[in-house]
Amino acid sequence: MNDELRAPIAFTIMGILLAIVGFTQSWSVSLSVINLCIISSIMAIGVNLQWGYGGLFNAGVMGFTALGGLTAVLVSHDPIYEAWDKAGVGIVISAIIFVLSITALLFVFRNIENKQIRNTLIILIIVFGLIGINNFYGPSIDIIESINPAKTGFLGGLGLPIIFSWLIAAVVAGLVAWVIGKITLRLRSDYLAIATLGISEIVIAIVKHEDWLSRGVKNVSGLDRPVPYEIELQQSEWFLNLVEIINFSKLEAMQSLSSRQDLLNDLVIDSSGIFVKLCYAGLFFSVLLLIFYLSQLALNSPWGRMLRAIRDNEEAASAMGKNIFAQHLQIFIIGSAIIGIAGAMLTTLDGQFTPGSYRPLRFTFIIWLMVIIGGSGNNLGSIFGGFFIWFIWIEAEPLSIGFMNMLAGGLEYDNPLRMHLLGSAAHLRLFIMGLLLLLALRFMPKGVIPEKIQKK
């Protein structure tokens, strides 16, 4: 097939699939899928920058997503003044001690040559740092967590509009990526994968268990929204008029006034949900377009060409005087920042932050599938991968249940085998994902929309 045609064909098929869902299930479902598809695509672009441009295997996508989500909470939630009043000082002091200890450690590590003195100093700093932090930290978090634990019990956030968090999430994720990159990027590619896998587990452990920061597994819900609420829409004049105008012919067909009013009410409730989802879709889509545009610019710039040169032949690039470590660090930070943005967007869409829901399969390895099946090194491919794989991930469940019903067709209703088959249908989608990845790697290693190599 002509390579030029691959992208349009792929996206047309995707559009048809989503339309089928719209017609057979409902447009509301289709829009929910699309919103998550867009977020997945942004994550996939982030991973694609790291893997497709830079050849870096980041197995910690989940961690950066969660960081983005945490940022959304910390930016948008109202501050809990009582907690700050009673225990803010303790938390700030422990934070200062923490930063000072890390700075001291770095200083000692870099500047003291004598090994014995260095090691003694390091141990001293760690011990005193821990004692100092424990002195202030423990009592403070007890106080914070005891303040209205059913509703808050944490420090709260800044109380800013949640949309700011998308930008701040990029900064937070980028900073964390900088620290990890500094440690691991000098080493071989496998180490990066394992180290990022580890850091993502730690991030999850922190958001799950540091209740004073994130409420932990008690979740933070009712986050503020960048789009109107359904209930507000249903009560506003202009929205009612809009619904009436759009559904004019349907309403006209009604005979009695009361049935006409009932239909209008139903329509208003339905369309308010769809309208909210459309607003989200519009917001997300603009972010996606912006990130896509910038990534394409970067890809085609001298910087992007240099990165690909490094990816394809490190020795040669190094001989040309390129600093491989610095370039890898840059691309790692940028990619992680994009993943952070997507994480914040996801939490915004959910309206809640649920640390317990972050699982590596869903948030790390699925994203990898998107990039590889879409086409490593091609941003359009990543977008397609994001849409396609997320669509499969969602629709695999009803399909598996249907498949299992077919398998168990001849069996009695309460046959144990039938019950087992139906109960395990949810696991089939893992199988489908694995199979897709293996098939793609084997028969289409360049992905659906392969990387374009420009030859001038």
């Binding site: 050849g55 295997f57 197995a59 821990l130 424990n134 423990g138 440690i183 691991t184 080493l187 590619s189 496998d190 180490y191 994968a193 394992i194 180290a195 896998l197 580890g198 850091i199 587990e201 730690i202 452990a205 799950k208 268990h209 590596p360 399969l361 390895f365 990898w368 590889i372 109960g423 395990s424 696991h427 089939l428 989608r429 893992l430 199988f431 994902m433 694995g434 199979l435 990845l437 293996l438 790697l441 084997r442």
Partner: protein, 339 residues
Amino acid sequence: MENFEFINAMVLLANFVIVPALSYGSQLALATLSLTIIYGVLRFSNFAQADWMSFGTMATILFTWLFQSAGINAGILPTALLALPFAIIVTALFCLLIDRSVYSFYRKQKSQPIVLMIVSVGVMFILQAVVRFIIGPNDRKFFDGEKYIVHALDFKNYFGLEEGLTIKSTQLITVIVALVAMISLFYFLQKTKLGKSMRAYSNNEDLALLSGINPEKIVIVTWIISSILITTAGVLYGLDKSFKPFTYFNLLLPMFAAAIVGGIGSPIGAVIGGYVIAFSEITLTYAYKKFFVYLLPESLEPSGLMQVLSTDYKFAISFIILVIVLIVRPTGIVRGKII
């Protein structure tokens, strides 16, 4: 009574730190050995290894149920030990099937290690699906037989101490089985012709091929050894605690950490790494308050729990050790071959 205080403190430490860490370390060491052998011979980081562990354990549980329903048991030992050899055969066969249908293609293409690593992610998905499909995602206990060798209460009464020492039979079995497995593995690698050719292949593939070593045979043997080790590790872990696919998947990180800390690709390093990770996980998350209460005079008694890290951060520990090793000594403890 000064002396008793000291003995009490030591028994406390043995009961809550040393015995659990020894058995967890042995399980981790076996699992890491299998990871490192795949890495050494087939040259890729196998992300599916933790799921091979749950697959092997699942097979063992199924055989255990079969034996139990047939009325076969091993007396005071858990039935799972009888089921283990059969489960190993099933696991090894499945490993070879996956190797034939998936990995061998990339080996022939001489793909980069990172491609094989991504392929192993695909295998990981499939294995997770298979395991959850067959046995479900829930917690399962499959231990039977005699539970304790030394019971805390008996120990207290016998020695007249305040602290009791519990040794579960699974802990003793773990240590013994792990020792036997490790010794036979090292004997195999060092003394037998096949083991030597495996090491040769791992050291220098081309040279090994030139001297007439059959690569296919090496690959098959590698998968079989890996299945033996990983299934044994999984069964021991499951007997000691319980079997749950997600918990097993989470062992991937400690396994990798242990492999790197010990020196990736080196079998002896894998064993050391396994114990290092296990001991640090448990010593750093144990609350030492009671221990110090025994040892120190009353005026110096600690007020806090005396815990370095809360148990919620077990994963963080393997990672922190990993990072320290990466900074201080990237080749791992046993500096040897890096394959």
